[in-house]
Symmetry: D2
Subunit: 105 residues, 4 copies
């Protein structure tokens, strides 16, 4: 992942795209790309693997740029959130169901 991060940073630098990469613009970009991924599943479950993978990759790339724009380490924020999610969704309450934590009885 470090090599990928280096490469997309170089892409941004070479194209002078840094000025566009505000947190707000990147949050919009992630939503836009998420919509493009979702379009592959709009009416049924038949999708083209390479095209869907390309959209997923674009979302990841914008997420990595977003971490840069927030000046955080992507691994640090994922580790922190994973711990919170584990606390919010304890195994004994969530096993085999997809309820949101706000719906626990």
């Amino acid at each position: 992942m470090d090599k990928i991060i280096s490469e997309i940073r170089k892409i941004r630098e070479d194209r002078e795209w840094g000025i566009f990469h505000t947190p707000e613009n990147l949050a919009k970009s992630i939503s836009i790309e998420a919509g493009e991924l979702l379009e592959h599943f709009q009416w049924d479950n038949e999708f083209k693997l390479e095209e869907a993978s390309d959209e997923l990759a674009d979302i990841m790339i914008y997420c990595l740029y977003m971490a840069d724009s927030l000046n955080v380490s992507i691994e640090d924020i994922m580790n922190a959130k994973i711990q919170k999610n584990k606390a919010k969704y304890p195994v004994e309450r969530t096993k085999g169901n997809s309820k949101k934590y706000t719906e626990f009885e």
Copy 2:
């Protein structure tokens, strides 16, 4: 990143969430979380860093689950897409502008 991937796989396994993790459901989940991130930038640029980071982390986690559900390597699809993006956005045409490749003259 490998350690993070292992950990979220264990979370999924412990909770028997695999049956919910169809590509379609995960595509929806990424869009939903992307909307939650965007909400931090709805009306202005003042945002709470930790909350925004948490939303970004959730998107990344769903992206990693999505790669699993598509049975692809997240690094492979990112590398493949990065090469395509570099070809679509050559430095000389894109330097300092944010035009989409379909808008090049």
Copy 3:
């Protein structure tokens, strides 16, 4: 609006699209189209009015189809929600600010 609703119902009927119009598929469709509208505002505030209007219209069309799929009247649900919003956002607490009701002190 009644004439528009009649016309889009006829479009759906003529094309036998009703089978695709589950609430879930239409919820995805609204998200997808919302992403397409947002794309016009991805990097700056310069947008093409007709193209943005087309995207907005598509969202509205899917919203009307969604109301049909939920078997509700679009006017009824809007009136009901407007009353809730007015209660959640009383004038004296919200005048000139964009805070979410969960952030009121």
Copy 4:
């Protein structure tokens, strides 16, 4: 619908929300609300009708505000787009299938 439009305009005016209602902010708002609607269909097809209807109504309300911010009539842009959609999706090519027009053979 005219009465609804008048009422939401009064809500905006009473709360001095007009300054927040740029086309960009409203495009974000529609995406955010679309995500909230989609959340009701994240893992399965069981949804609460009133809650889903509330989310749908919120999207419609923001769409009406967006039409105002673009200074267009919601009915005019819907009528214009409906004509385009009918031309893009002729009955004989689309009957009973959900293909996108770019996928026609």
